[in-house]
């Protein structure tokens, strides 16, 4: 229990100034502060216990009086109480810690400034990566030994099973969806055309890019982010080693070679998936399906598919490296960077795909 008695500007406290009692003290203080125009004296002689909430109450009383140019004087504190106050009192530090809240326009300005800074960093990173990627082809000094093969295996070979499975399923789904419609017109054979064109022009490179964004893009972002957090990139810099060349370039080289191969694999497996439906559901023979597929495909479809897949590959690596390199904080930051990288790379891949479709087919 807390008893508070007031005698002019002197307030006596008796009992405990702890979590359960401070509300009462605070309410009393509010009333007194409203009407007082002189310094207050708190007598804590009869206070048997004080905790952090009690100290916070004293701090608030001091601040409120200060805002009215008045002072709080605390009398008769025991040694124990003084020690608790010293431990928990925020004092001047708390006042300094008050952060001015940004206004609406300031927030917009800050966000825009941050965006411009990120854009600038991204452009620097892109130019650095491409410069060192070209230099790296002719000069291997300063590059990591065997890193190209390592990255090619990580990004490419290890992605084959999941990519193969998903491509097969996509081929099956596309064929199933179209077969029902085409059969009504007796145009079963055109399933082969539809699957061939859609897999080669669009779905093959796109599925490959999306799978690699999720699988390899996230791995790149988290690897780079972890290297930032654990100061590995700083260590490279202090050894005079360019992190772009040592860490990022092998990934660009590897994905540039591996991605088109994966896209071709996806196209072939997708077409095979379509054939399965044609064979078992539409009674199409292998020869007829193959002949129809080959008749509808032009070199241009194939080349655009490969070109797109290379562009998607660069988007995935650059996004992973960029978001990884701007990580802030520890493990939580790494997670955020990875998520941001995957979201951004999938978005950019689809955006780039739209642009390619406009350029190549309209």
């Amino acid at each position: 229990m807390l008893k508070i008695s007031q005698n002019e500007n002197r307030i006596d406290f008796e009992g405990e100034l702890s979590f359960s009692e401070v509300k009462q003290a605070y309410d009393t203080l509010q009333k007194i502060i409203k009407i007082t125009n002189q310094d207050l004296i708190f007598d804590l002689e009869k206070i048997s216990k004080i905790d952090s909430s009690g100290v916070a109450f004293l701090d608030i009383a001091r601040e409120k009086l200060k805002s009215k140019n008045l002072e709080l004087k605390i009398f008769n504190t025991s040694q124990d109480i003084q020690e608790v106050i010293q431990t928990f009192s925020a004092g001047k530090v708390a006042l300094n810690l008050q952060v001015k809240k940004d206004g609406f326009l300031e927030s917009i300005g800050d966000s825009f400034y941050g965006f411009i800074q990120n854009l600038e960093n991204l452009l620097y990173l892109i130019s650095d990566i491409f410069f060192w990627s070209i230099v790296g082809i002719f000069n291997r000094k300063g590059a990591r030994k065997d890193s190209f093969i390592q990255q090619a295996v990580l990004i490419g070979v290890n992605s084959v099973p999941i990519l193969g499975l998903i491509s097969l399923l996509i081929g099956l789904i596309l064929a199933l969806q179209s077969a029902e419609q085409l059969r009504q017109f007796g145009a079963n054979i055109y399933v082969a055309d539809l699957i061939a064109v859609s897999m080669t022009r669009e779905m093959g490179p796109l599925i490959t890019a999306i799978i690699l964004s999720g699988r390899s893009g996230s791995a790149i972002a988290s690897e780079v982010a972890t290297m930032v957090v654990t100061e590995e990139l700083d260590a490279l810099k202090t050894m005079g080693i360019n992190p772009v060349r040592y860490v990022y370039v092998p990934k660009i080289h590897a994905i540039t070679i591996v991605m088109p191969l994966l896209a071709i694999l996806s196209i072939v497996i997708g077409i095979a998936g379509g054939f399965l439906i044609g064979y078992f559901y539409l009674d199409l023979s292998f020869n007829a399906y193959l002949k129809e597929t080959l008749s509808v495909l032009y070199l241009k479809d194939f080349v655009t598919g490969i070109l797109k897949s290379i562009a998607f590959a660069w988007i995935i690596v650059i996004s992973g490296c960029f978001y990884g390199s701007i990580v802030r904080g520890g493990a939580e930051g790494v997670g955020k960077a990875t998520t941001a990288s995957v979201v951004a790379s999938i978005f950019m891949v689809i955006l780039a795909d739209s642009l390619f479709s406009l350029i190549f087919y309209f």
Partner: protein, 245 residues
């Protein structure tokens, strides 16, 4: 006395926040200089500014006679070849083995044949008592072993200056003493100038030649250990008084 590092009016900022405010200090050659200061006093920023990881907002850092932030890439590389940095958590490259970690600077900065590089790696790892860990990955090492491996990498090129960020933090007392002895050996035998950030008083007593004390981004003391203890500067004296046992 010659100086390996000369810092003039160094101001370092993160965004608008001033971390180091007009530091003027020289780091003497062939000595172990300890950087002290409370949390947030700017010690790590001080180190990052010297080794070129943070561009000074104002002022200059002259290392081995060259102003670091005014050098082109090639010249900067030449200076970096002559320094070694031991990061607080080792900062070993996690995807390669310990011996490959130590060989990274050797492969980058020398044209030595692989056989010689391997021998140097072996000798550096044996110096830090890690001969048995050559083929292990960093993830297979304990915290103390990681630090020792990182030290082996930092001294791979026999640098003229060695920077250490809290080398004995988190180490058991025996490993910590061994590390200190190794640092002393490096100073005496290889004539390396060493700059160390540490809070470990026992370690400071064992190895310090010179003390630099930072407080709230300012340099408040530079001198020997004895001078520090008798400096009359409250924060400095308090640091040594509290830590005495």
């Amino acid at each position: 006395m010659q100086n390996v590092i000369e810092i003039e009016n160094l101001v370092a900022k993160y965004g608008e926040k001033v971390i180091l405010d007009g530091i003027n200090v020289n780091i003497p050659k062939g000595k172990i200089t300890i950087v002290l200061g409370g949390s947030g006093s700017g010690k790590t920023t001080f180190l990052r500014s010297i080794i070129g990881l943070l561009e000074p907002a104002e002022g200059t850092v002259k290392m081995l006679g060259k102003i670091v932030n005014q050098l082109d890439e090639k010249e900067q590389e030449e200076v970096l070849k002559q320094i070694g940095v031991l990061f607080q958590n080792g900062a070993l490259l996690n995807s390669i083995s310990i011996s490959e970690n130590v060989s990274v600077p050797l492969e980058k900065h020398t044209n030595l044949p692989k056989e010689i590089i391997d021998k140097i790696v072996e000798s550096k790892l044996s110096l830090v008592s890690l001969s048995h860990a050559l083929k292990l990955l960093p993830s297979e090492l304990s915290g103390g072993m990681k630090k020792r491996a990182a030290l082996a990498r930092a001294i791979a090129l026999d640098p003229q200056i060695l920077f250490c960020d809290e080398p004995s933090a988190g180490l058991d007392p025996i490993t910590s003493v061994n590390l200190d002895e190794l640092i002393l050996k490096l100073k005496d035998q290889l004539k390396i100038s060493i700059l160390i950030i540490t809070h470990e008083l026992a370690s400071i007593h064992r190895i310090a030649d010179e003390i630099i004390f930072l407080s709230k981004g300012k340099l408040i003391f530079q001198g020997t250990l004895e001078e520090a203890k008798n400096s009359g500067i409250e924060e400095v004296v308090e640091f040594f008084k509290i830590g005495e046992f």
